[in-house]
Amino acid sequence: MFKYLKQLTSLVAMVAVLFTFTTETMAAKKSKTLKNTQKKGFVRCGVSQGLPGFSNADAAGNWTGVDVDVCRAVAAAVLGDANKVKFTPLSAKERFTALTSNEIDILSRNTTWTLSRDADIGLTFVGVNFYDGQGFMVRKNSGISSVNDFKAGVSACTNLGTTTELNMRDFFNSKGIQYEPVTFEKADEVVAAYDAGRCDTYTTDKSGLAAQRIKLSNPDDHMVLPETISKEPLGPVVRQGDSVWEDIVRWSLNTMIEAEEYGVTSANADSMKTSDNPAVKRLVGAEGELGAALGLDNEWSLRIIKQVGNYGESYKRNIADTGILPDRGPNELWTKGGILYVPPAR
């Protein structure tokens, strides 16, 4: 019941905006978020209400996933311990207000980077930790093998308040197909309604489809169509106006990706201190003073790699080994045919 009262979260957030009296100024040289985080002793991280592979809690309340690992990396860098994270599960609708009204400091919740979100509503996207795209799931016995097989009158189940709704309209309009959108507040209801036969297709990000398919009563009776109808670069978001904090989150993510590129893993990170490659040495804090620029010590990146692992380790642990998307596709390093390419840490 209370989960649904969260429909009124916007109201709560509005009240929060009304009541918080902040002395924060844009020109402040020190990062207020960093200071507060160090004072509190934990990183406040907004995640999904349960999306296997990205952010999902087990029965004991331990969060895992590639989105979760971004927050853990920041905790390792800032506080020295990847476990010092407080996770707040948020619906698609609540997520931005939770961030702008200071309830959380990082939003790492499979959120698509778009111009209007970045520019309009007080948010800043710091990077991309998963390149996704919207797809469709159908029943195998429908004989539909491509999005071109959809006919007018098709009903499509999806989640409320996401870019999915807009992409779906663009797609069906471009094909000239009249369709029936059935939008639910929570993913569990979407799955249940699609499973019962209310909809002919279930559309959301392909990673989401792969993860949710496991929840269906007969996963093998369903398949994801090959086409991708949109670009969905998913990444962590921070509040606009704290550029130091923004840099910390951005470079925590970049460190994980760069570590994979140079073959630094959680297992060999310590031994890499004596590497011949200066780029590797910088990455493990054996050379240069990169941490100081972020207001951190020099071993911040080493801690990330040791405690959380590099991006490849995180992907394997959360997405590949769980059978969600064994094939990394575009989320492979640029050196291996993917599009993961981050600016150098130097």
Partner: protein, 381 residues
């Protein structure tokens, strides 16, 4: 002027203005710091999202304001349906609880105790997923009377295609006006001569005859468009043509009416029991039939007790309809405070509009019910 009387009022006003001003100023500062702009200009922008069920023509090329209207009308629709059915069920069950028949009496009590003690959201989920489990796929459905199709994708009913619909509507308006005149005439006749006129039969007759005449002589013509099954894929079907009532609307209306009816039933029971026994006995002693006792003596007095608490139930039902978002019925909260809010990110603007809208809806219902309550109150002469 007495300064002692005015001073507290001025102070109260000042406090209100200060508190309100502090909040708006604070919100403004905070929004500025976070780079959030404020304004209602977005309402005229293209919404670019679609809605599954709408009473007015709408698609993503219309404005956010139009999307707001779609949500508002859907909220009103489910509330009106809910209020009508809740009232009917409530009155029947309320009277059944007063019945001397043990079985009827107990059944009504069990219904009331069961449905009013389970949280409404659970009931909505229950009816929705129960409906989805129980209803057949479009290709397996058996037509009712050959033209109604109840399926998991919705209840498909025939639609009327009208010629000269305006003349038909005029004929109904004419019938209603003549009924009002008949009633005035009947009342005068009873006051002057003491003779009762069968107003109800005449009214029904008028309502039937005038529209039939419009068909025969007015050139009104209606054909029926029956839904036809359509294949979407090897295993997927749907219906085309006619009118589609989505399962979300049906289960939401069902849950709302069954839940609210329990409270209305209790109001009705309280109202009827609140009329003193002496009134009934006195009415019977002057030779009124049991029907007349109920209609002329008991009900007019009971209604005065029933209306005010029932108004509360109508307000509750309207507000509870906002739980629709849980089961994908596109009401005001789902369409406007949901999708539109997400796409624009304008939380303060949209939530304030939504709150004002529910406030206006509730106040309208209150005003109407207060008017009705005054109308049926005992007029002291």
């Amino acid at each position: 002027m007495n300064i002692k009387k005015i001073l507290p009022q001025i102070l109260t006003l000042l406090v209100v203005i200060l508190v309100f001003g502090f909040f708006s100023y604070n919100a403004q500062i905070n929004m500025e710091n976070r780079g959030i702009t404020f304004g209602y200009g977005f309402l005229s922008q293209e919404s670019s999202f679609d809605v599954q069920f709408s009473l007015i023509e709408y698609d993503g090329s219309h404005s956010y304001f139009r999307a707001y209207l779609v949500g508002l009308l859907n909220t009103i629709l489910v509330s009106v349906i809910g209020i009508i059915f809740a009232t009917i069920i409530g009155v029947v069950v309320g009277i059944a609880r007063l019945s001397n028949n043990y079985l009827i009496n107990r059944t009504a009590s069990i219904y009331v105790e069961f449905f009013r003690n389970i949280p409404l959201l659970l009931q909505i989920f229950f009816w929705y997923f129960a409906a989805l489990r129980a209803l057949p796929l479009p290709q397996d459905t058996e037509p009712m009377f050959g033209v109604f199709f109840l399926t998991i994708k919705g209840f498909f009913v025939p639609a009327f295609v009208w010629n000269n619909l305006d003349i038909f509507i005029y004929s109904i308006i004419a019938a209603i006006i003549s009924i009002i005149f008949v009633r005035i005439y009947a009342r005068k006749k009873q006051e002057n001569e003491g003779i009762q006129t069968p107003v109800l039969s005449i009214s029904i007759g008028l309502l039937l005859i005038l529209p039939i005449l419009s068909f025969l002589f007015g050139g009104v013509d209606a054909s029926v468009e029956i839904p036809v099954i359509k294949q979407l894929s090897q295993s997927g079907f749907t219906f085309e043509g006619g009118i589609k009532l989505p399962p979300e609307l049906i289960s939401l209306a069902l849950a709302l009416s069954l839940y609210t009816a329990t409270f209305i039933a209790e109001c009705v029971r309280a109202g009827v029991q609140g009329v003193s026994k002496g009134q009934k006995e006195a009415a019977a002693s002057i030779g009124l039939t049991p029907n007349q006792v109920l209609k002329l003596v008991v009900m007019p007095q009971a209604l005065r007790i029933i209306i005010p608490p029932t108004t509360n139930q109508y307000l509750n039902l309207t507000k509870n309809s906002s739980l629709a978002a849980a089961i994908a019925y596109p009401d005001l909260v789902l369409v406007f405070a949901g999708t539109a809010l997400m796409q624009t990110g304008r939380a303060i603007e949209i939530v304030s509009i939504t709150m004002l809208t529910y406030l206006s809806l509730s106040i309208s219902i209150s005003i109407f019910m207060n008017w009705y309550n005054k109308k049926i109150a005992i007029k002291e002469k």
